[in-house]
């Protein structure tokens, strides 16, 4: 039924019984800046909530996976040590902006394979302020000015606009949409709406990207308890993490050179195709989406890479409001990273927490009507991309 491609999907478990992965509980510390709250305390809040929802205590999970990029040595141990929850395997996972997705894939695989009955997956981060500094680059690349992430985002955005006919007005419309959604999300860093005029009046960081078109690296935590699905548990239908293929010059891989070949599929498309295949679903089955909007152009590129629309169709979708909360297929009902900010290790799991609430019908003023199938997407340094599909 399933291909042998990477990614987690339902498998024949022990004794030939098909094992489904269920969501037992979720928790989240708001994303933002919290100068008086330490890294461990951010994680403690999210983990305690998720475990309380799942109805488990010490001994209630058999393994823990912690996504973090800047947390440092044994971050997961520090968080679980503070809660007297050590003793199981605790595995820190780093995969750039997809770190939380990578942790989720490992956790889901541990359930689907029959190895564990219940696992804890969480992500925690306190990002340095300002432009993200990354050991991904050699010191000479920093010295030469070849390291700033927004510059690579801008090049990708320029090509998107050139190739599709999308405009800076469309980029501003993404910001207006996501910030409007974020107004009613208490987990978001920015809870005020913006106008397109104000977005375009903010300073240019790297043409065509203005300051308000870029998300803020920040702090936060999210946690999910997965278990062998029972009863009405929401199902994790697929979690697929993929890295980039060699040759693409403008992927999040940020190589120093690439081939003159624009047909190389992106890491996002690879992950999406894996996930759709594993879930036995297609883009038309998706009711609600949380996708990577590190910058406004990244969201629009993600739509086409996820096969949610044809290249260039984004302008019509934005104009018609189809991606708004009340639209045909809302995208980033949480407000996205443009509203929440991006704590790398936690951001993917923050998306999943939002989608769990959407599927449960507990998203309050952000509730999407009749959401049955949800897709979460992150992509970042590596390049790594992760696509998760959830359903009833």
């Amino acid at each position: 039924m399933f291909s042998t491609k990477p990614g987690c999907h339902q498998k024949q478990g022990v004794g030939g019984v098909s094992i489904e992965v269920g969501v037992a509980g979720v928790g989240m510390h708001p994303f933002g800046r919290f100068d008086d709250v330490g890294l461990v305390d951010l994680g403690v809040t999210a983990v305690q909530q998720a475990m309380a929802e799942a109805g488990i205590g010490p001994g209630g999970f058999q393994a823990a996976y912690c996504g973090t990029a800047y947390g440092g040595v044994a971050t997961g141990h520090r968080v679980l040590g503070a809660l007297a929850l050590t003793g199981t395997p605790i595995i820190d996972v780093e995969a750039g902006c997809a770190s939380g997705g990578a942790a989720l894939q490992l956790g889901a695989e541990a359930i689907a394979s029959g190895r564990h009955d219940t696992v804890l997956v969480f992500g925690v981060e306190k990002m340095p302020k300002g432009i993200i500094r990354s050991s991904f680059f050699a010191p000479w690349q920093e010295q030469a000015g070849l390291s700033p992430a927004p510059a690579y985002f801008a090049l990708r955005a320029q090509r998107l606009l050139a190739d599709t006919g999308l405009t800076k007005d469309d980029l501003a419309a993404v910001c207006v949409k996501n910030r409007a959604h974020g107004v009613v999300n208490p987990m978001a860093m920015w809870q005020e709406p913006v106008t397109a005029e104000a977005v375009l009046a903010s300073r240019v960081v790297c043409e065509p990207l203005h300051l308000w078109m870029l998300c803020s690296p920040n702090e936060g935590a999210a946690a999910i308890v997965l278990r062998r699905a029972t009863g009405h548990d929401l199902r994790v239908r697929a979690v697929s993490l993929r890295s980039h293929l060699p040759g693409g010059v403008l992927s999040e891989a940020t190589p120093l050179c690439g081939l003159v070949d624009d047909s190389i599929p992106s890491a996002t498309t690879l992950a999406a195709d894996d996930a759709y295949g594993a879930a036995g679903l297609g883009p038309d089955d998706i009711d609600v989406v949380e996708c990577q909007d590190t910058d406004a152009a990244r969201e629009l590129l993600s739509w086409q890479e996820l096969r949610l629309c044809a290249p260039g169709e984004q302008a019509r979708i934005l104009a018609d409001g189809d991606a708004n909360l009340s639209g045909a297929r809302p995208v980033n009902p949480s407000g996205g990273l443009l509203s929440k900010g991006e704590p790398l290790g936690a951001s993917a799991l923050g998306q999943v927490v939002e989608l769990v609430h959407q599927l449960r019908g507990t998203a309050g003023p952000r509730q999407v009507d009749n959401a049955q199938v949800a897709l979460a997407h992150v992509v970042g340094r590596g390049a790594n991309a992760c696509v998760t599909i959830l359903s009833h």
């Binding site: 300002g130 500094r133 010295q143 000015g145 510059a151 090049l155 320029q158 043409e207 060699p246």
Partner: protein, 129 residues
């Protein structure tokens, strides 16, 4: 001027600069900087080659705020130039820091760029049309 890092380019006594890359006969691809195998296919027959000094602008922007670890001037141009004849696109500094003055397919040529403290880096400059 001292090169920013060894092995990236050759500086001639007349001040001209040439990027040092690799070529694999098996894959048919050039790459930059020179690596142990072809980064696109893994072919291990890489030969050290000097890359074309001319190309065309494919995508460009400008960096307006100094990123961490960078002590050179801002704004500075940043983009990708497609090198003539070899099917390779190189991420690069650009001497033109006003994005409104670039256009796709613009003729570009390699020059030496000073990123501060007498450190030499490569950049591409527009060829007058």
């Amino acid at each position: 001027m001292d090169p920013i890092a060894p092995g990236l380019f050759e500086l001639a006594t007349d001040g001209s600069i040439t990027l040092v890359g690799g070529f694999s006969h098996v894959s048919g691809h050039h790459h930059f900087p020179l690596g142990p195998v072809c980064p696109f296919t893994g072919a291990d027959d890489v030969e050290r080659v000097l890359l074309p000094r001319d190309g065309r602008l494919w995508v460009w922007t400008a960096v307006t705020h100094p990123p961490p670890g960078y002590g050179g001037p801002v704004p500075y141009g940043f983009g990708v130039v497609e090198l003539d004849g070899i099917g390779l696109r190189v991420v690069t500094r650009l001497t033109e820091s006003d994005p409104s003055r670039g256009h796709e397919g613009q003729r570009m040529t390699l020059v030496t760029d000073d990123v501060g403290d007498g450190i030499a880096m490569w950049a591409f400059a527009p060829v007058p049309e």
